[in-house]
Amino acid sequence: MLHILRHTPQDTSRFASSLRVMGPKQGLLLIEDGVYALLPRTTALSALQLLPASVRLYALETDVIARGLAMDDVPKRVTLVDYPTFVQLCTQYDKVLSW
């Protein structure tokens, strides 16, 4: 299953809820304001880093750049993707859940 998160981690309960129900071997794709979870020195980023190693993390590159996040700050664990890869991820996981 691929989870898609589009809201800021600090301003709604969606980020916390999605992490709470994330299972092993699932994927998490950050899009739109969800990419703010990659801001360094935040509890959101720490929470992402603490996810089991089998959970794959992705972020939509255009949304990351558009919002002014520094590419150097993006953790190695996170794969930056474009829309074609976003589509590919959807086919790769058995279902897609948007938060």
């Binding site: 299953m1 309960s13 969606r14 709470r20 129900v21 299972g23 279902k95 859940l97």
Partner: protein, 117 residues
């Protein structure tokens, strides 16, 4: 036939709450096996004793009670969301099954499709 889980996470006065319920009812009307999970503020939809008419809204309670008539019996409520709001299952107007984080993860795996509204 694919099964569908509708996750409803808005408080009852929000239009999104009714629109989530409408999707569950529509799916049931099509004979699709459908479940509903009330999460975050969505658990507030289930609180007994609401009087929506006071704020000139149509009662959501009536539609919720219609779920069983449409054979939507698989109702789940997030235990964490309940606790966070100081609520216990006996305050709920439907017999939704309280589920914890890992049980929710299994639920999400069990259904073929999941839509959050």
């Amino acid at each position: 036939m694919s099964s569908l889980l509708v996750i409803s996470r808005h408080p009852p006065a929000a239009p999104a709450a009714r629109e989530a319920l409408d999707l569950a009812l529509a799916a049931a009307a099509f004979g699709v096996p459908v479940g509903m999970l009330f999460l975050d503020a969505g658990v507030l939809q289930l609180l007994k004793g609401q009087e929506a008419a006071l704020i000139k809204q149509k009662s959501l309670t009536a539609n919720l009670q219609a779920l069983s008539m449409f054979d939507v019996e698989d109702l789940f409520v997030c235990q964490h969301s309940l606790s966070e709001r100081g609520l216990t299952p006996n305050q709920l107007l439907l017999p939704a099954k309280p589920v914890e984080g890992s049980e929710i993860a299994s639920l999400l795996e069990h259904y073929d499709q999941v839509v959050t509204l």
